[in-house]
């Protein structure tokens, strides 16, 4: 449980970090909060040549609400976002979901963008980003590009980020007036990776449900305002599309059941809190 040798760069600016990524590409890993990276390093699941620490870059520590989005910089911790002003108004979904992310100790270190970069299929923050039709701002030494969250995640721990790119920020869409939001998660223990997590956004003419923990990435579906059997049918089709796998904690069948049941609950809950 000791990492393989690596170089460590504590970057003072985004430019310095990006220059290191440009130079080392695939052999570099970004360290922000380290809550996933450090255990993986210690177990030698990763053996990067260089660790680029971005946690001290002040310009990446911002939380801004503008252009219809809540932009969260690369070094913002999960507890930092939770404590940010008016989160319950700016993003009721995030306010509801963040307490489910690990434990307060890990949230004090773990970053919002780090969770997105890590792309665990069960993680809450990527799920919220997809549910809220968010974006990932990727920056390399050469350019900056923005990728829609729904296309950013392509598999377990796998994203569209190129080796020379850093997630500079993620942008969660600000709530539409009158929209309702709800988040629920089923895990074995408080703070565990979700067996199934559901996030719903309901506005005047649309239901959007995102599900984590069942597929190999967070997946969302939009429906018109369905009710009763029509909603159950839609949820059932979604559950079957996601499929799910058996693992040591739960069966695929159980996961599909949770999509059907918890999916319905969050949609009803989101509806009930529509303004």
């Amino acid at each position: 449980m000791k990492p393989a040798p690596f170089d460590y760069l504590r970057a003072a600016s985004a430019e310095e970090a990006l220059a290191a990524l440009a130079e080392h590409g695939d052999e570099a890993r970004i360290l922000a909060g380290g809550q996933s990276l450090m255990p993986m390093l210690n177990m030698r699941l990763l053996q990067p040549r260089i660790i680029v620490d971005v946690s001290a870059i002040a310009e990446l520590g911002k939380i801004d609400a503008r252009d219809g989005h809540l932009a969260v910089g690369a070094s913002v911790t999960q507890s930092g976002l939770m404590a940010s002003s008016d989160l319950a108004t700016r993003s009721p979904l995030l306010a509801g979901a963040l307490p489910w992310v690990g434990h307060f100790q890990t949230r004090n270190r773990g970053t919002v963008c780090g969770s997105v970069a890590h792309a665990d299929p069960s993680a809450e923050i990527p799920l919220c980003l997809v549910a809220l039709e968010g974006e990932v701002v990727l920056r390399s030494a050469r350019r900056r590009r923005t990728v829609v969250a729904e296309t950013f995640f392509i598999g377990p721990l796998t994203t569209l980020r190129k080796p020379d790119e850093m997630i500079e920020a993620v942008r969660f869409r600000l709530p539409k007036p009158g929209a309702g939001h709800a988040f629920r998660e089923v895990a074995m223990r408080h703070g565990d990776f979700a067996i199934t997590a559901c996030a719903a956004v309901v506005d005047a003419d649309r239901i959007r449900l995102a599900v984590g923990g069942v597929g190999d990435r967070p997946v969302a579906r939009n429906w018109p305002i369905l009710k009763g059997d029509a909603l159950d049918d839609a949820l059932n089709a979604f559950a079957w599309e996601l499929g799910g796998d058996d693992d040591q904690h739960a069966t695929a069948r159980y996961r599909r059941d949770l999509v059907r049941r918890v999916g319905r609950l969050v949609i009803e809950e989101a509806r009930s809190c529509q303004a």
Partner: protein
């Protein structure tokens, strides 16, 4: 509390006789906690190492079962900073296989010789200047394995199918022992009902915070080993280690540190590593240190036995059990490792629990599987036993339409029959079980719980109440394990019995008192309780007593029963300290008597003074009396021995060797536990919520109520884990799946409610202070009590643990809502059982080329190399067989695999099997895919079905992503195939490629 912490001497008025507050039985807060909680306590890893110490890292088997074809350590040995690489060859040279507790030709070496039998089995050790370098070098050792079929369950071992783990034994059931007590057949003939049940108890463990640590040195000149390790005992294992190192016990000096980061029995299992590190120190000629990491601990340290129990009871009309047939099969893992089969035999005297069951037939079996060897674990053997017995009680009630509590009441041993001898020989020493049950139902508020249940059920909710009544054995008889031997075998081996405890109390020239015991502290509060006991004997303050908890086999008094296990601290160890202190006090009384001109019987000790009973002013200070033996031995009366130090040995009188008829009292005393649990099950998630838990204990005399409640809370928390969360999971292919605390789920403060704790005190007649053990009871009673509550809530049978939401959901779910016909293709076929399979799946892709063209691509090594993720080139190794170095990864997790790839079952251009296997520092992977090609209008429909296995580190830490990762890699393969064959991504290049392919096939010039 303040009165207790003030010095008794301060409380004593000058004129009156000095008095000391009673200390035994008082709620004294733990004296050791200030140091532990402020980081001042020193644990084994904190202790200084000898100059020149090398650091060890262990290479472990990624396979559950494989033949070792060869180990190449040259590259590792050549690395800078590496002093030695030690393998099974060295073990064969310097060590011997471990002694085994049954007569069967099984060899267990400290490092694998010829074969590995469980994932994580130690194969080689690198010794280097630091741990980092040692781990770097691990990656350079090449081991060639030939995988063997695996045995992954008790039922598989019982079936007789499957590869024998130990070919010389010939069966994976390595021992079968029948026992008969009383006329069971008559009981069954007389009984109105026969009620049976079969349960399976899972593998789990208590996972102490501190993992194993060993520091070992070998003295070439003396031929002696010196080891410092956080071993916990039993010291019956000391001879096992000495024999494995091929030295007499006196040449294996074993020291234990003053503090422990927890054990719960698990630290017993450090012993094979003590032997490994002994061999390493000898090979390297330098001291070595090894610290186990969490992955190693979870994967390969130890485990409770999994057990299958089949019970059949002869039951009267009113629910009394007249006779019981019991078959128990323990999964002991790959080797029967000392002190196993302890888990199976520890409760042999109390197999009938707290009940009066006059006739009992037992068949005990030991199964070996390709899993970690088992060992001591809080409650060991008890959780397994009572899961079966108490499920049976519940089942009897349900079957006969009785109240489960009435069935318990009718079968409990009556108080009038105490001490009660069970059918198999246990002597239940004291207690009024029925009174304890009544007190628990009243004080625990059972009526209110029943009302809550009625209300919940009326509302359609799933609410249930469960019970469990058990006896909690403490202070194991060292002879109980020999019950596994036949009477004849025992006669040859010589009698084994008793449970020697030892304690030493000494006084120093200033009147300070030091206590040492042969027991390593693991949370029992050694410092506090021993201070209470000894201070009370001498009439001193707690602070006057120094408790030294270090231990040294070369200097301290010990026996093979020494150590901290089987709840022996309160009953045996504290009691023995009391005996030693009392003896020393009596000697001091003689000295004081001569100086105070009274008889020794008139001497009193209190408030730091030694005085005459009738005349308190006629007194000496304790320190003056204590110092006499140091400063002025010449003044002692002739024939009077100086009172400096007293060592007492004590063994519980009722512990005899098993009789010819296999009658055995397996423990010195038996506490009583009765639990009530109320649960509600969430109809949406099937999660269990414990609404209320009541636990009643009679553990004899309570030495310190705070300590007792701490023990109960700890065991209860462990048991909640056992009941609802924890399992060492394996795939049916042998891979281990619980390598981190993200997958081995220990409940936290969020998940563990605080139970209502109730107490009664029926002192044991057999222990010096009347105390019994209390720290294991809930590990035994609580898992089944929760299971009974869940069974009551669901109105269904519960036959295994842990009761995860998915397991409960599977019990209550209706047929699944059908997959809508509107969806396209079926998803990959999902295997039926969670946690028990290899990786399997199937799929279909359409490739825009003819079957002949696709065939040509697959059979061209250059093309095939380009399709395989992370592969640069394939080297021909035989007809359609290749070797390659591939870098396979999921996201950032990547490893370089040395792989073998083979195409077989060729049926051109219709079908073939593509198989591969590879190994890397992260483990091994192997798989085969059957591919069929079928011409369609769009090209070729490729249908594939695969079966893969992954083992080692990646499987142990990433289990929940293995399926999707496998699919992703296969997906990449077909994406590239489609591109190569002219799919959208490679449209421009396809004509030339096609031409080239056709040329290769000889279809074009």
């Amino acid at each position: 509390m303040t009165a207790l912490t003030k010095a008794p001497s301060e409380l004593a008025p000058a004129a009156a006789a000095p008095v000391s507050a009673a200390l035994i039985g008082q709620p004294i807060p733990r004296l050791e906690d200030a140091a532990i909680l402020t980081g001042q306590a020193r644990y084994t890893d904190d202790l200084p190492i000898k100059p020149g110490t090398l650091h060890a890292a262990i290479l472990r088997s990624p396979h559950a079962h494989a033949e070792i074809l060869g180990i190449d350590v040259q590259a590792a040995r050549a690395m800078k900073g590496v002093a030695a690489v030690v393998t099974g060859e060295d073990a064969k040279r310097f060590a011997a296989p471990f002694l085994v507790g049954v007569r069967a030709p099984m060899e267990h070496w400290c490092l694998a010789v010829d074969r590995v039998r469980y994932p994580g089995e130690p194969v080689a050790v690198v010794l280097a200047d630091d741990r980092y370098l040692a781990e770097d070098a691990l990656d350079r050792i090449e081991v060639r394995y030939r995988p063997l079929p695996v045995v992954m369950s008790i039922d598989q071992a019982l079936s007789g199918d499957g590869e024998p783990l130990h070919p010389a034994v010939g069966s994976n059931i390595v021992n079968t022992r029948p026992f008969g007590y009383g006329d069971v057949n008559a009981a069954f003939e007389a009984a109105e009902h026969r009620i049976s049940t079969t349960v399976q108890y899972p593998r789990n463990s208590c996972t102490p915070m501190e993992c194993f640590v060993v520091m070992a040195d070998y003295d070439q000149a003396d031929g002696a080993y010196e080891v410092l390790s956080n071993f916990s005992g039993p010291f019956a294992i000391h001879p096992v280690m000495a024999k494995a190192l091929k030295v007499p016990g006196s040449k294996l000096r074993l020291k234990l540190p003053p503090n422990s980061g927890g054990s719960f029995g698990n630290k017993q299992a450090v012993f094979p590593y003590i032997v490994i590190m002994g061999v390493c120190a000898r090979v390297a000629g330098r001291p070595v240190k090894w610290v186990e990491d969490r992955l190693e601990h979870l994967m390969a340290a130890t485990s409770a036995t999994a057990r299958r129990t089949d019970l059949e009871a002869a039951v009267s009309g009113d629910g009394r059990i007249l006779g019981l047939r019991m078959e128990q099969t323990d999964d002991v893992g790959a080797y029967l490792r000392a002190p196993e089969p302890a888990s199976l035999y520890r409760n042999h005297g109390n197999l009938t629990g707290a009940y009066r069951i006059p006739a009992l037939d037992v068949v005990n079996r030991l199964a070996v599987t390709n899993k970690t060897p088992t060992g001591l674990n809080r409650g060991f053997g008890g959780g397994q036993l009572y899961f079966a017995i108490e499920r049976l009680m519940h089942r009897i009630a349900v079957t006969l339409g009785l109240d489960p509590l009435d069935v318990i009441r009718r079968n409990l041993v009556p108080a009038a029959e105490m001490p009660y001898t069970t059918a198999s020989g246990g002597i239940l020493d004291s207690g009024d079980f029925l009174a304890a049950v009544e007190a628990a139902t009243t004080d625990g508020g059972l009526d209110e719980l029943k009302a809550r249940r009625d209300k919940a059920r009326a509302e359609g909710r799933l609410y249930g109440i469960g019970y469990a009544a058990i006896v909690e054995p403490s202070i194991s008889n060292m002879g109980y394990i020999t019950t596994v031997l036949t009477a004849d075998e025992r006669r040859k081996a010589g009698p084994k019995n008793g449970a020697q405890a030892s304690a030493t109390v000494s006084v120093d020239p200033t009147g300070g008192v030091t206590v040492t015991v042969a027991s390593a502290p693991q949370g029992q509060g050694h410092r506090t309780v021993l201070s209470q006991v000894v201070a009370e004997v001498f009439g001193l303050r707690l602070g006057d007593i120094a408790v030294n908890t270090e231990f040294d086999t070369a200097k301290d008094a010990w026996s093979i029963a020494a150590g901290n296990y089987s709840s022996r601290f309160a009953g045996a160890v504290a009691g023995t300290a009391h005996i030693a202190a009392t003896r020393l006090r009596d000697k001091l009384a003689k000295l004081a008597a001569s100086q105070l001109n009274v008889t020794p019987e008139d001497i009193r000790f209190a408030g730091g003074r030694v005085f005459a009973a009738g005349n308190p002013d006629n007194s000496l200070s304790f320190s003056r009396v204590a110092a006499a033996g140091h400063w002025s031995p010449g003044t002692l009366a002739d024939g009077t021995e100086a009172a400096l130090r007293e060592t007492a040995f004590w063994t519980p009188p009722p512990l005899k060797a098993p009789t010819e008829a296999d009658i055995i009292n397996s423990s010195a005393c038996y506490g009583f536990v009765f639990d009530i649990c109320a649960v509600e099950i969430d109809p949406v998630t099937a999660q269990v919520r414990i609404d209320k838990y009541v636990t009643m204990h009679d553990a004899g005399r309570i030495l310190n109520p705070l300590m007792v409640e701490g023990q109960i809370l700890g065991a209860f928390a462990h048991a909640v884990g056992t009941a609802l969360y924890e399992e060492y999971a394996y795939g049916s292919d042998g891979r281990f799946l619980s390598g981190t605390f993200a997958d081995y789920l220990v409940p936290t403060a969020c998940e563990v409610p605080v139970p209502v704790m109730l107490h009664r005190e029926s002192p044991s007649p057999f222990t010096p202070l009347g105390a019994k053990g209390v720290g294991e009871g809930n590990s035994m009673s609580t898992p089944v009590c929760i299971a009974n509550a869940v069974a009551d809530a669901l109105g269904m049978d519960i036959s295994t643990l842990p009761l995860t939401p998915a397991r409960i959901a599977a019990l209550i779910e209706k047929p699944e809502v059908a997959r809508p016909a509107s969806l396209d293709a079926a998803p990959p076929k999902a295997p039926a059982i969670a946690g028990g399979r290899g990786l399997q799946g199937e799929g279909t892709r359409t490739v825009p080329a003819s079957p002949e063209q696709v065939w040509a691509i697959l059979l061209d090594p250059k093309e095939l190399a380009a399709l395989l993720p992370g592969c640069d080139a394939l080297d021909l190794a035989g007809p359609n067989a290749y070797r390659a170095e591939v870098v396979v990864g999921i996201g950032p997790v990547r490893a370089r695999y040395l792989a073998e790839v083979e195409l077989t079952d060729l049926d051109p251009p219709r079908a073939l099997t593509l198989s591969g296997r590879g190994s890397s520092a992260l483990g091994f992977g192997e798989g085969s895919g059957h591919v069929t090609l079928e011409a369609t209008a769009d090209g070729t429909r490729v249908v594939y079905r695969y079966d893969a296995a992954v083992g080692g580190k990646v499987a142990a830490v990433g289990g929940r992503m293995l399926d999707s990762a496998t699919r992703m890699l296969i997906g990449q393969f077909f994406d590239r195939l489609i591109a190569r064959a002219g799919g959208p991504a490679a449209v421009e290049t396809s004509p030339s490629l096609l031409t080239r392919l056709l040329r290769l096939l000889g279809l074009r010039p």
